[in-house]
Symmetry: C2
Subunit: 416 residues, 2 copies
């Protein structure tokens, strides 16, 4: 065992031990601790802000990281509000999905339990530290956090505050732990800590998530990549299509549920392309187009083959003309990331076929892809948006941070 | 891309294409095809039995594989019966788990869909070929089968028969495919075919499953390892404990839900150990014991540290005396495989604490661990028993071979 793995093993054992006690806390106890954590972030902001200043003083921090890395009193207050919201949500732990008596007379109950130990791997965003810690704690999970190295001091200060609240409430402080060694070797060892970590949830760039998927032997929930399409059917209300496409692209272009591609049925392309391209340009969007689009609006940027698979996360969009709904669906299933896809149509059959055949977590008729979100879905929280099919798909709220166990009551039954 | 990966990529693409069409079949169509497959196994047994004879003629087959590898008319009839039973089960695809309207007025429905392409890796058991193909087909999943090399001719013959039934019904024959190249290189490439395979389910020995867990980048459902315990509490009915332990050990010792370990509360150890050890020996079981057990029954085989983590799958059991229920739970959580655990007790509190604190898929009060089984649970089928927490835990029936997707109906909603 190498040194990185040895250090992590201790941390993993502590997390696992803590997880056994977390599952026994009542909802009332957990909520009281979440509220105390919220208050502590406000009361103890001085050391947190001092640690954050140390991170920001690092001359090697890329300029684009500065905003997301910066903590202020207002941002700490936002984090505290987030924790209070989590405290107010219903607790899924202990819920019984269903219960039945089998032929042998056993009463079998499928009961929601914590996953156990959750590993979170993320970039230099200190807000993720508090957010993930709160969601995992509410669901009785121990969490091991591995944040970006640029935020190490901030994360340490935040975790210290949260751990002190745990300890004051007689809860094992190892329920929330931070990996202090931000080397790649330690990250790689963390991803293989199968004896102690039940699931890894990476949050961040496509590159980060790919690295985790490739290296991990711990089960991973893949999140966040979103190459989302809007298909404008020949039976679309075109003004509705424009609202949906513009909202999907410009309302928050950096996020995973932003619309990245538009497919337009050939029957409406000549009429509609000038309108939608103008509407997007009015919002500062760079529009790229395939050859059919170029033929109608010659000054679009020519789209290359690479465009169809690219998630821009920026004010850029690519448009392609398709011959049929079937072509649109085939294109989407080839290039999408199984996140969110939309059709705009007034044709009932076209809408239902699209919903059935498109392979994605969320498939919309006549609505913006931007709705794929735990809060918009009414979950009251979100740990990420899953783009895989196992365990959880789409927005993940508290329920998606649980597993189940069968608890079975007998009176001496043996198998025949 | 190496040659093994190139060949597999074609196979994966074909499976993915087939999966898109399978999701569109009606339950009635799928059931008719399953019944036709059952009939074809009986009608076309001659080429299947000839292929099987070729496998059995291989002089390198270990003697212990011969029985599980041998096909007969009776065994083909059993496989056919299995397919007919799967046809008779309710189809989970298209079920709506729940549907609601969100604040923006969108109607959101969480609908059951196939997982997509399932990869099965298993040993030289031709019955798994038919069983897995039937369960995957019923749930609209394409399947890629990689069976043990000793059964290759048998598996080819079986898959040919099933594919011909698909083709006769105008269904893509690539819905069921067999990997013909049984090299380790191809198996390793298969486990990394993330673009085309949605989930891998290994079925077989602990060694096989560990190999898959270590090498795979495709998400894996871990199945089958069972180091199951029975804890005899101080408040146990001892005659009930004996029935449960003997049933758990001897009714079918080779399977994963067999009882492998017994923990006995010190307060009843002196009274109970001679009885239970005699009862086990009467059934031909080798009894191993810790030092406390040896002190009471001196002629037990001394248990070593390795015993506590070992799944015997044989007529061997190890007994340990514990000081308390807490010690029993700690021992189980340290050494178990999260499969099935049981307490025998008449103390309500002891039973409920055990169910809550033991970390396993199935936790029994006063019943045999042998009940952890898809048929005993009333699922009507079983693809395996999951010992992980993500996605599925415990016996996996048809529902556990599905994912979900959110289908969302709007009328022009955009995000504020």
């Amino acid at each position: 065992m190498d040194a990185a793995t040895t250090a992590l093993t201790t941390l993993g054992q502590q997390a696992q031990q803590a997880s056994y006690t977390l599952g026994l806390l009542s909802t009332k106890q957990k909520n009281a601790i979440l509220l105390a954590m919220a208050q502590a972030l406000i009361d103890q902001q001085a050391p947190i802000l001092a640690a954050n200043a140390k991170d920001l003083a690092n001359p090697q921090i890329p300029a684009k990281f500065v905003d997301r890395l910066t903590l202020t009193s207002a941002r700490l207050a936002e984090m505290a509000t987030g924790l209070r919201q989590v405290a107010a949500l219903p607790d899924p732990i202990g819920n019984v999905d269903r219960a039945w008596r089998n032929d042998a007379g056993l009463l079998i109950a499928k009961e929601r339990v914590p996953l156990g130990v959750i590993g979170m791997i993320f970039e230099a965003r200190p807000n993720v530290t508090v957010d993930a810690a709160g969601l995992c704690f509410k669901t009785g999970n121990a969490v091991i956090l591995r944040g970006g190295k640029e935020a190490l001091h901030s994360n340490q200060a935040l975790v210290n505050v949260l751990q002190d609240v745990l300890q004051a409430a007689d809860v094992d402080r190892h329920a929330i732990q931070l990996i202090q060694d931000t080397s790649h070797e330690t990250a790689a060892a963390f991803m293989r800590l199968t004896d102690y970590v039940d699931v890894l949830i990476p949050r961040g760039s496509a590159r980060l998530i790919q690295a985790v998927l490739t290296q991990a032997t711990v089960p991973v929930i893949e999140t966040g990549a979103g190459n989302c399409h809007v298909y404008v059917d020949q039976a679309a209300q075109l003004d509705m299509a424009t609202k949906i496409i513009v909202n999907g692209k410009v309302q928050r272009p950096s996020v995973c549920n932003a619309t990245e591609k538009v497919l337009i049925h050939r029957a409406v392309a000549a009429d509609y392309l000038p309108t939608i391209i103008q509407a997007l340009r009015d919002q500062g969007v760079e529009v790229r187009g395939d050859t059919a689009t170029q033929a109608i609006v010659p000054d679009v940027v020519p789209a290359t083959a690479a465009d169809w698979a690219t998630e821009y996360n920026d004010l850029i969009i690519a448009i392609k003309v398709v011959d049929s709904e079937a072509d649109a669906i085939a294109h989407i299933n080839r290039y999408n990331t199984q996140h969110s896809e939309a059709i705009v149509t007034d044709n009932y059959q076209a809408g239902k076929v699209f919903q059935q055949r498109v392979n994605a977590a969320c498939v919309y008729i006549n609505a913006s892809t931007r709705f794929t979100d735990g809060f918009e879905f009414g979950f009251g929280a979100e740990i990420g948006i899953s783009t895989q099919k196992l365990h959880a798909r789409g927005p993940m709220g508290l329920n998606e941070l649980t597993a189940y166990k069968y608890v079975i009551d007998g009176n001496g039954q043996v198998r025949q």
